[in-house]
């Protein structure tokens, strides 16, 4: 029953990403959207934490949010569009949004 975790708050001003990372199951996925994509800013502890996740945990970022913020997806993350977001919801057993 793997979970896709959806985050949308900046990890520099908010504890949601840190809390989420502690609760991940081995086959869960993490999807960064909105200001949560700032977690992919190079040279940060936040990106390092994401890169330390086990390889079985997939990492996604919403492409439009990356583009808007002049960020690009590092090798560890996959930039996705909305149709892929929708399909991912079916790939995982449930979606946990950190509202």
């Amino acid at each position: 029953m793997a979970t896709l975790h959806l985050l949308s708050h900046s990890p520099f001003s908010d504890s949601r990403l840190a809390s989420c990372l502690r609760l991940l199951g081995p086959d869960d996925g993490v999807l960064l959207s909105g200001d949560a994509v700032y977690a992919l800013q190079p040279g940060t502890a936040q990106l390092q934490a994401l890169e330390l996740m086990p390889a079985s945990i997939a990492l996604y970022a919403l492409d439009e949010d990356l583009q808007a913020r002049a960020l690009s997806a590092p090798a560890r993350a996959q930039a996705i569009d909305y149709p892929t977001f929708v399909e991912l919801c079916g790939h995982y057993a449930k979606v946990n949004s950190w509202l």
Binding site: M1, T3, S15, R22, G25, K94, N96
Partner: protein, 119 residues
Amino acid sequence: MSKSMLIISRQAPWAGPSTREALDIALAGGAFDLPLGLLFLDDGVFQLVAGQQAAALQQKDLTANLQALPLFGVEELFVSSRSLTERGLIDAQLILPAVELDDHALAQLLDRFDQVVTI
């Protein structure tokens, strides 16, 4: 069979209506006999502190709603031991008999429910 839902409440009681509204999701689901769990995480553990005085802020007491959870069929109550420890509450008397779980057990808990909503 009905789908189960875990509601993760991670806000202190004093941040506006959203804490109460998270609780209302649980109470509404309990009224429909749905299999529900409620997990207090991060600042959400402050909801469980005894002796809080909502009247000092002219607010309604959340305690009554929390204690109504078992009456509404919401009997699976959990709290993060890490969140309690971080906030100096690990030895505190809590107003609900919530099961304390470490991070590993919390990951397993999330896995067990069909749906999870984190507010």
